[in-house]
Amino acid sequence: MIVASPKPVTELKEIVAAHDKILFVGCGTCVTVCLAGGEREVGIYSYAMRMARRLAGRPIDIEQVTIERQCENEFIKDLAPAVERNQAVLSFACGAGVQALAERFLNRPVYAALNTQFLGILEDQAVWTEKCLGCGDCMLAQFGGICPVTRCAKRLLNGPCGGSTEECCEIDKDRPCAWQVIYKRLKGIGQLDRLEQIVPPKDWRPAWHGGARKIIRQEHRV
């Protein structure tokens, strides 16, 4: 899923400083699951914002709504009357959702309430870790299902650098060295021979390096 985290209230206060009537929009999918931008968080942040503005002597009127998915027009379109009633929108979606709203509602400012972080998993209670960079050319088959492009700080494709300590990454002692994990995993599944092949430099064209990507699946178009 897409993992995000909320911006601090002080930053959000700055972002919406010019408005006194605003729509807070939560998103019911990824950011709800990662406890960043669902109905619950919209409620908490609305409460905090009202209090902060009241203390500052500039009360704010906040309307709250949470929709199923902010990244699909089908769900966004019903927001129109609420957007119209307010001066601006504070979106609690990932960066994709924020932009979907901004592109649909041309006459209202749309702001991001979250910092969108990564594609990851829930590793432990309230602990999320990044697993995928969305590079567009998946190499997981070669590396025992562990992604060095995402999980090695240097994105190395041919083995560990000399910098890992006691199986931890050179730059973060709380993060295991991706290459030690790959090595153990391939050893465990009897595929260590995969590490003998030299992996050529990655072709970054399927990734983001050429600008924003677009996928058209003709077979699904009517």
Partner: protein, 302 residues
């Protein structure tokens, strides 16, 4: 055997026990002191001098320019090249540039992460890794580059370089097998010599050398000169794959301050002497104490 392209290449090919030194370019344009050290203590004593490439990700003067200044002073450089700061276009271009400046020895390294240095906000590159950088050098030598024309044929170079290509390995790490797998790839990719991360344990080093016997590549054992007991303890704590044994730390703590350089040279010289039968050379990393090099060589019996 290919025709040697450098003095270092020739000496190793001839089976001589080879010693290399190392300098780190300054942070700023004042290269005088650094060049003076190289001329006064390294020239004529070591086969070649490594020039670090933005070592520990702390911004400083570039390796290639310092290599050129060494060449002008009759000192053969080893151009260290890390993958952290340049993409494949810049790395290839710099390899060609280095060649036309007369640089022949190149050491391919991954490079410390920017998070370790003084510009942690920087965007790290790592477009190539140390293995693919070696392969890239081999490719350039063959007269083409990593790119291709619109038909998919490799590009042709107008004039190809020829390097003596080196790489690094950490022999005394707790998990040595992945290191060896990677070293095998480096040799397959074209590495012709190896300079190791610091080694202080001859027994562990001998074990490591047995494990890589099949690679038939000259290995220069790395010695970082221990300047104090504090530094040794710091290395044990913070430098991956480096373990300074307790007796050496005791030896350093027992030394009076004014004697530290002498003791440092004794320890380094003794380590070189002990490991000489196991490998083809030694790489001395003095971290600014270049004046101890003559002492190290004397203590090593070289």
């Amino acid at each position: 055997m290919t025709e040697p392209v450098s003095h270092l290449h020739r000496a190793l090919a001839a089976g001589q026990f080879v010693v290399t030194g190392e300098i780190g370019p300054p942070k700023g344009t004042n290269v005088g002191p650094c060049l003076h050290e190289a001329e006064a203590y390294l020239k004529g004593r070591v086969a070649a001098v490594n020039v670090t490439d933005i070592q520990t990700a702390v911004m400083r003067t570039g390796s290639m320019a310092m290599c050129k200044l060494l060449l002008e002073r009759g000192i053969e450089p080893v151009f260290q090249m890390v993958c952290r700061d340049r993409n494949r276009l810049a790395l290839q271009s710099d390899l060609l540039s280095a060649y036309i400046l007369g640089i022949r020895n190149v050491l391919a390294l991954t490079g410390d992460h920017v998070a370790m240095g003084d510009h942690p906000e920087a965007k790290p590159v790592y477009d190539l890794d140390s293995v693919s950088l070696l392969e890239t050098m081999t490719r350039l030598e063959s007269g083409s580059d990593l790119g291709h024309d619109f038909k998919g044929n490799p590009n042709t170079l107008d004039g190809a370089p020829k390097f003596f290509k080196g790489c690094c390995v950490t022999p005394c790490t707790d998990e040595v097998e992945p290191q060896i797998l990677k070293l095998e790839k480096k040799v397959a990719a074209g590495a012709q010599f190896v300079q190791t991360q610091a080694v202080y344990d001859p027994v562990a080093f001998e074990k490591f050398m047995k494990l890589i016997e099949h690679l038939k590549v000259p290995v220069l054992v790395g010695i970082v000169v221990l300047k104090s007991a504090g530094m040794a303890k710091y290395m044990n704590r913070a430098v991956p794959g480096v373990q300074v044994p307790e007796p050496l730390i005791k030896e350093l703590s027992a030394a009076p301050k004014e004697n530290l350089k002498k003791v440092a040279a004794e320890i380094a010289g003794r380590l070189v002497r002990q490991m000489k039968p196991m490998c083809q050379g030694a790489h001395l990393m003095t971290l600014g104490w270049d004046d101890v090099v003559p002492g190290i060589l004397a203590n090593a019996g070289l």
